[in-house]
Symmetry: C2
Subunit: 499 residues, 2 copies
Amino acid sequence: MSEQPRSIIAGAESDRADLVAATTAAAAAFGSYRATTPEQRGAFLDSVADEIEADKVAIVEAAVAESHLPEPRLAGEVGRTTGQLRMFAGVVRRGDHLGVRIDPALPDRAPLPRAEIRQRHVALGPVAVFGASNFPLAFSTAGGDTASALAAGCPVVVKGHPAHPRTGFLVARAIGRAVEKHGLPPGTFSFLLEVDGQRGIDLGQKLVADPRIKAVGFTGSRGGGLALVAAAAARPEPIPVYAEMSSINPVVVLPGALGGDVAALATAYVGSLTLGSGQFCTNPGLLFLPRGEAGDAFLAAAAAAVREAAGAPMLTPAIAAAYASGTERLRGAEGVRVIAEGSGADGAPAPQLVEAAALGAPVTDEVFGASGVVVRYDDVDDLLPHLESLEGQLTATVHATDRDAPAARALLPVLELRVGRILFNGWPTGVEVGHAMVHGGPFPATSDSRGTSVGSLAIERFQRPVAYQDVPADVLPEAVRDDNPWGLVRRIDGELQLP
Amino acid sequence: MSEQPRSIIAGAESDRADLVAATTAAAAAFGSYRATTPEQRGAFLDSVADEIEADKVAIVEAAVAESHLPEPRLAGEVGRTTGQLRMFAGVVRRGDHLGVRIDPALPDRAPLPRAEIRQRHVALGPVAVFGASNFPLAFSTAGGDTASALAAGCPVVVKGHPAHPRTGFLVARAIGRAVEKHGLPPGTFSFLLEVDGQRGIDLGQKLVADPRIKAVGFTGSRGGGLALVAAAAARPEPIPVYAEMSSINPVVVLPGALGGDVAALATAYVGSLTLGSGQFCTNPGLLFLPRGEAGDAFLAAAAAAVREAAGAPMLTPAIAAAYASGTERLRGAEGVRVIAEGSGADGAPAPQLVEAAALGAPVTDEVFGASGVVVRYDDVDDLLPHLESLEGQLTATVHATDRDAPAARALLPVLELRVGRILFNGWPTGVEVGHAMVHGGPFPATSDSRGTSVGSLAIERFQRPVAYQDVPADVLPEAVRDDNPWGLVRRIDGELQLP
């Protein structure tokens, strides 16, 4: 029997003692974990991916049972999760996130000489991660927040999502094996679990309030995110909270886009709207459609597609109940009329499409699920005030052809200030993991628009800069040494230099 | 008489109407100001510097009268201010802050093609700036926060500091002329003023609460900074607050550093401690000194230098009063004994040096002014727990020789987690404006350790990323076009490419 201490991986309810043990272990692990070289940290992240793949069958089986999502979708999500981990392994090995800058000394400068100053980013400290209900893998235990925090050099304490406790446990156990394999301190990763709703909320609040936690990643509801933001603001020491919360992801159909196969466009829209029962943060919940015959044809085709759509079981009874009350509130709002409804069943509520005469609550409140609102408009002058009235969003989609270019150019600056990602002639569901992706946006899409929770830029959320002035060469950290042992891109006297 | 609307530059008390006018104008200016090209924005920042230089004599005269700081110091501060503006002009012209990333489309990727995704940073929106009492120029109306926010493309509303209203007004007027000269919207820059203490605090709170303000820069006291952090957290839409607040800037003298000219070292320390009556955020308020004969000799020499030092008039009566009460509280603390006192006068309180047997409040509370605390230690094992007990700091200084390298290497990781800048064999007062500088640090040195308020990295505090997916070439913003018209450094598929 091994005497080596292991990561805290809770298989059942965690209590206050587990929480303190996890954050204490994370704080103890921080020093040696952040001191890992790019190669060591990259190899560890690769191992996390390998260990998850090794348990893929069991993980997918648990996730199917717990989330009601289809097997192919969850098998794909494993690939997305491991791909993300391997992408961060590459980022860390290249070391770009270290952001090295060197201003050489100018001993002869008048009237005063200039000291030598070097800069690099260091990790913030232990990070608390709250996974999402709708992505039990890619936005959860080993999801983007965990991967980017670990890549930055931060130990992670995950509060497992109560909607998929066994999936979370299995993934956490895989991460724990990678921690052990690389001889990292056990506090590098911990997993806490509490399936009871209120006790889970309490555990989350205590985790964010714990003084050893230095940043928070969250994906979920606006209420849940704002509660964590408030808990963080109430700490003696404020910490960043990256909460990805709510978005209705407006879609603008410009007139030219109705010049082609309107029925195909409408069907594709409904496909995105009803995908996964609409349980995506990027679900296109609001669509602006030109008035007139072509728009009418689009709406008729969309209505037909919605009528043919069947609701799939939602992730949890609570989400199904929230969908029911949200759609009821929406249908009861002034100026809202129901265009079409699909078929539903118990726990698998019907998709719906409504038309609204005007914006504002509850029309612009997120209804998590396959509920679409259509707003008709006359021309771009009519459209812009609508867009300007919207809150912050994760995405905005524009359907346009060449002849819409002037209108599209007028929309772009308005959308830029309201969303994290602008996409043309596609659908917002499906968030590519890459270097240029932004999955974020102004409040209330997120609590902090300066970051992204998907893509390699996500690592920057968990770092801060430190300057080293006239530090002797044999004391300097490797990242900022003149001989550049890690082959980093560096900014020398303001100019970027490739290694 | 010109009909052109002018920037709001208050020469006397501003009221609620001025505030709303300023933030409304800032919001109205945002669209066209952020759309300026790198060259246009760079030229504007250069003009701000030129206009300040044109009024240099009057500005320095006002600043001398209002701050009691010596003329050469303030003349130098004008140079620092204009140099900073010109540095940001260069940063903007090069466009590195745009952080362009392009992930090309992969139409043949299996199982799904990859969309083309581009990314750049956009400005957050109007920024409220609160200047410092102790740097009426370089950390005030046209200081680092204003320069970096304008460089990022954010309109700025300054709340002028009540300790130097005329200086602020003259600088604001110079900025206003540059705004006019470049045909920018008047709301690009506004200056509000309220010299009454309580009314000024109210004005500041209202400014931070104004929904048109999207970020805050502040330099000042911990109380003032935390009040603005609380005001921002109480908004329906939370916004970033970059408050640079308090720091006692620990200095560690390692044994080897006492092997040379101990008296010269002690005199240099007292020079930094008493510079500008100690009214620097980087004032070295806490010094760790080895026990033993060499340490005794250092302390004796430092005591002699303090006894010879005379207090200069402090910036304001309130600051002098806070120094008096702070030093009194320190002297009354358990285990604190006074080592030396300089000469003082009304409004020019005496510098002091005390020795403390242990750390903790009030010994580690910032006393803004020339008050130094010395703590003796036996060896590095004795020193580390002291350093680990400290709150976040702007700087940490180490005095060491080659033979101290092992100890210095042991200190470095501890200091990295507690400070924004680590310097060796110098003094923390004097913050170089450059590309590698960090003037920031963990709480309570600042409210947000992810940024710096000095140096070119400061621009990143006022930006957020936006992604463009499959946006047609003739709709794309210039910054992310394939032909790279601005000659930017770009990250293509994850790899940095120089233009």
